[in-house]
C-alpha cells in the first residue's frame, strides 16, 4: 500500500504537496477509491479541477496516467483495441508461400503483434504497476459505450473474440469525469463512488491560484478571485471555472497590471469570459460593480 493512503488526511496533505488542493470530501473519496478499489466518478461544472485530480493522483502514486477522452460516436475500436489491418494484409501476403493451413495463418495474423491497444485495453494490460485510468467527459459519449464500460469497471476484464478474455494484472485506478450535460445511467453510477465538485470558496480558490502563480501579489490575487466569484453570481452563459481565474490572473501579470482597474478589465476580460454576450454584460457593469465592500 502506498504510504499516503493510510488515512484520508494524509491523502489531502500529500496532494497539497503536489499543488493540488483537495477538500476533505474529495480527499475521502480518493482515499476510498484507493482502498476499496472502486472507480470514482467526479461530476461538476467545467474548469473546477476534475481532470487535474486524476493527474495529481497519478503523480502521487508515481504511476502512468492513461487517458481516454470521450466524444460522441466513440466506439470500441477507438477505446479498446483495433487490429493493425495494413500489417495484417502484409502478413497474409508473406505467408502465401509458407504452406500453412488457413487456420494457422489466421491464428498468426490475429496474434498479439497485430493488436493495436487503445487506452482501455492498455490500462488493464499494464504489467509493472497499476496505472491511473482517466475516462474524461464521459457524458459526451453515447449510452452504448457507457454500457460497454460496465463490464470493464466491475470485472476489469475485456473480451476480444479472436484472443479470448484479457484480465487485468493490476487493477487500474479509474477516475471518470462528467460535466453533467446528460444524466449517466444508474447502472454505471452504482459501480462508482460519486463525488460532486462545485466551485470553490474564496479562500480555496485563492489558494489554488497562488499555487499555480506563486509570484502573484496578495492584493491582486484577492481582487481577481473576488471578481470571478462575483461573476459566478451573475447569469452568464459560460460560468468561469477555476482554470479561467488562473488564466485571468496570469494575463494580468503578463500585462503588468497590479490591480483590476478599468483598463485592465477592458484588456483582459476575454481571458475569463468566453462568450460575447457575457463580456458585454460584465463590461457594461464595469469593474466597480464587483468590488466587495470591505
Amino acid at each position: 500500500m502506498h504510504p499516503a493512503f493510510s488515512t484520508s488526511d494524509s491523502v489531502i496533505a500529500t496532494l497539497a504537496g503536489l499543488n493540488y488542493v483537495a477538500d476533505e470530501e474529495l480527499g475521502t473519496a480518493l482515499f476510498l477509491m484507493y482502498r476499496l478499489q472502486k472507480p470514482l466518478l467526479l461530476e461538476g461544472p467545467p474548469g473546477v479541477g476534475k481532470t487535474e485530480a486524476a493527474l495529481a493522483l497519478a503523480s502521487l502514486l508515481g504511476t502512468k496516467l492513461i487517458r481516454l477522452q470521450c466524444y460522441e460516436g466513440l466506439d470500441v475500436n477507438a477505446a479498446v483495441y483495433e487490429w493493425n489491418y495494413q500489417k495484417q494484409l502484409l502478413g497474409i501476403r508473406l505467408q502465401e508461400q509458407s504452406g500453412l493451413s488457413v487456420e494457422e495463418k489466421e491464428k498468426h495474423i490475429f496474434g498479439n503483434e497485430y493488436l493495436l491497444k487503445r487506452p482501455l485495453l492498455q490500462s488493464i494490460m499494464e504489467e509493472v504497476k497499476a496505472p491511473v485510468l482517466l475516462i474524461d467527459e464521459l457524458d459526451r459519449s453515447d449510452e452504448e459505450f457507457e454500457a460497454f464500460l460496465l463490464e470493464l469497471l466491475s470485472a476489469f476484464q475485456i473480451s476480444i473474440p479472436e484472443l479470448g478474455t484479457v484480465k487485468a494484472t493490476h487493477k487500474p485506478y479509474v477516475i471518470l469525469t462528467s460535466n453533467r450535460t446528460r444524466e449517466l445511467s444508474d447502472a454505471l453510477k452504482r459501480r462508482c463512488l460519486y463525488q460532486w465538485i462545485g466551485y470553490p470558496s474564496l479562500e480555496k480558490e485563492m489558494d489554488i491560484v497562488k499555487r499555480h502563480l506563486p509570484g502573484i501579489e496578495e492584493s491582486l490575487l484577492r481582487q481577481v478571485t473576488e471578481h470571478v466569484q462575483q461573476f459566478r453570481t451573475r447569469k452568464l452563459s459560460k460560468v468561469p471555472g477555476v482554470s479561467e481565474t488562473i488564466d485571468w490572473a496570469e494575463s494580468l501579470l503578463a500585462l503588468g497590471h497590479r490591480e483590476v482597474n478599468r483598463k485592465a478589465f477592458e484588456r483582459t476580460l476575454g481571458a475569463v469570459l468566453k462568450s460575447a454576450d457575457d463580456i458585454d454584460m460584465i463590461r457594461s457593469e464595469g469593474p466597480e460593480a464587483f468590488h466587495i465592500a470591505s
Binding site: 480527499g27 476510498l32 482502498r35 452504482r190
Partner: protein, 380 residues
C-alpha cells in the same frame, strides 16, 4: 419510521440499518453499497466522523441532489444529540407526497363533463365506418362511450406507427465505409485477396426528443390523448424527455417509464399544482431552460411543444425563451389543437409571440391529425 444509530448495538448493525434507512427514504442503495460501506469502515475511516460522513456520501449518493438528501439523512440517523434533532428534523422534507386534487386524472379524462349537445355533434361527423368517424372526431367532443373505443384504436394505431417509423429508418440505411476487420477475416479464404468488400452500416441515428405538454384547463380534453401519444413515442425514441406544464413545469420522463398510463396520470395529478389554472408558457419554458437546458439541449434534439398558446403570462418572456430554445434544437414543432377549428387564426397573445420561432406549426385536434405527425417523427 424513526430509526437512529443509538438504537442498534454494534457498528456493523448500525451501518446496515443506516443503509436500510437511506433506502427507505429514496436513495438507490443495494447490497453492494452496504457491503462497500462496511469495507470502508474497516479501512480506518472511523477515526474522524467528518471523513466517515464523506466516505459514506460518496458511496450512497449519485448526484448532487441525492447528496443533499444524504446529508439530511446522515444527521438524522447518526446524531444522538436530542436537542438539535428537532431542529434538523424540521428541515427534512423527505418524500413530500402531499395529496393535491387526487381526482385530477378524472378531469383529464374528460369524464362527467360531456354535455348531451356535444354528443350529437360528434356523431354528425361523416366517415366510412366507425373507426374513421372516431378518427376524425375532435378530441374535446368525444363522449364517454366513444372514449373507450377511441382509446383502444388510438393505442393500436400509435403502436403501429411507432413500429413503422422504426422500420423505415432501417430500410433507408445506406452502405457505409469499408469494414476492414471483416474484410480481412473474409479474405483469408481467398488467400489474402480482399475479394469481398464488407462495409460498415452507419450506426443508427441517435434520435432525441423533448416533449412539453400543456395540461392547463383549456387543454385538458386534448391532453389525455396527447399524453397517450407521448407514451407511444417513448417506444420509438430511446431518449425522450417529457414534461407537463401549466403554471409550472413537472418532469414526467421517469413516470412514463412505468408504462401504465393511469399511474402516470395519478402521478402527474399529485405532482403538479394548480392543475386547471391558467397557463404561463413563458415562465414554464424559462424554468425548463434554467433547470434542464444545459443537460438536455445538447446534440440538437427535436422539440415538440403541445399547447393551445393561451398564455396568461408575459409574452416577452415567452418570446425570449423560445428564441433561446430555437437556437439550440434542430427543430421546434408546435402542436396546437385549436388549429383544427374552422376559421382559427393564431391571434392569441402567446401564440403570436411564439409563432415566428416555430419551425412546424401543426394541429392535433383529432386522432387523424396526430397520426399525420408520423412523417415528422420519421425525419427526426
Amino acid at each position: 419510521m424513526k430509526q437512529q444509530a443509538f438504537s442498534t448495538t454494534g457498528l456493523t448493525e448500525s451501518i446496515v440499518a443506516f443503509a436500510g434507512f437511506s433506502r427507505s427514504h429514496g436513495l438507490n442503495i443495494g447490497l453492494q453499497e452496504t457491503q462497500d460501506a462496511l469495507r470502508a469502515a474497516d479501512t480506518g475511516l472511523l477515526v474522524k466522523d467528518e471523513s466517515f460522513r464523506f466516505g459514506l456520501k460518496s458511496l450512497f449518493s449519485h448526484s448532487p441532489e441525492e447528496g443533499l438528501l444524504f446529508d439530511q439523512l446522515f444527521s438524522l440517523y447518526w446524531d444522538t444529540n436530542p436537542t438539535d434533532m428537532a431542529d434538523r428534523k424540521g428541515k427534512v422534507t423527505l418524500q413530500g407526497t402531499v395529496v393535491k386534487k387526487a381526482n385530477a386524472s378524472l378531469i383529464m379524462l374528460g369524464q362527467g363533463r360531456t354535455e348531451p349537445g356535444e354528443e350529437e355533434e360528434a356523431k354528425s361527423v361523416t366517415g366510412a365506418n366507425e373507426t374513421e368517424r372516431l378518427k376524425h372526431t375532435d378530441l374535446s367532443r368525444v363522449n364517454v362511450l366513444d372514449a373507450e373505443k377511441l382509446e383502444l384504436i388510438a393505442r393500436k394505431l400509435f403502436r403501429e406507427m411507432a413500429l413503422r417509423v422504426r422500420r423505415r429508418q432501417k430500410a433507408s440505411r445506406q452502405k457505409g465505409k469499408i469494414n476492414l476487420r471483416k474484410t480481412i477475416r473474409r479474405s483469408m479464404s481467398y488467400g489474402g485477396e480482399p475479394l469481398d468488400l464488407l462495409r460498415m452500416e452507419p450506426a443508427p441515428k441517435k434520435q432525441r426528443l423533448i416533449v412539453l405538454l400543456d395540461v392547463s384547463g383549456s387543454m385538458d380534453k386534448y391532453s389525455f390523448y396527447l399524453l397517450r401519444f407521448v407514451c407511444a413515442m417513448k417506444e420509438y425514441f430511446r431518449q425522450m424527455e417529457a414534461f407537463v406544464f401549466s403554471t409550472s413545469l413537472v418532469r414526467i420522463s421517469k413516470a412514463l417509464q412505468q408504462e401504465r398510463l393511469d399511474l402516470v396520470l395519478q402521478r402527474i395529478s399529485t405532482m403538479s399544482e394548480n392543475w386547471s389554472g391558467g397557463t404561463r408558457i413563458g415562465a414554464s419554458l424559462k424554468e425548463f431552460n434554467a433547470l434542464y437546458g444545459k443537460r438536455m439541449l445538447n446534440g440538437s434534439p427535436l422539440l415538440v411543444i403541445m399547447s393551445d398558446g393561451l398564455d396568461t403570462g408575459d409574452s416577452a418572456v415567452l418570446r425570449s425563451e423560445m428564441a433561446y430554445l430555437q437556437r439550440r434544437v434542430r427543430k421546434v414543432v408546435w402542436l396546437n389543437p385549436l388549429k383544427g377549428m374552422q376559421g382559427y387564426a393564431p391571434t392569441a397573445k402567446g401564440m403570436q409571440a411564439a409563432l415566428p420561432l416555430v419551425d412546424e406549426f401543426r394541429t392535433a385536434h383529432n386522432l387523424q391529425s396526430i397520426l399525420e405527425l408520423e412523417n415528422l417523427l420519421a425525419d427526426a
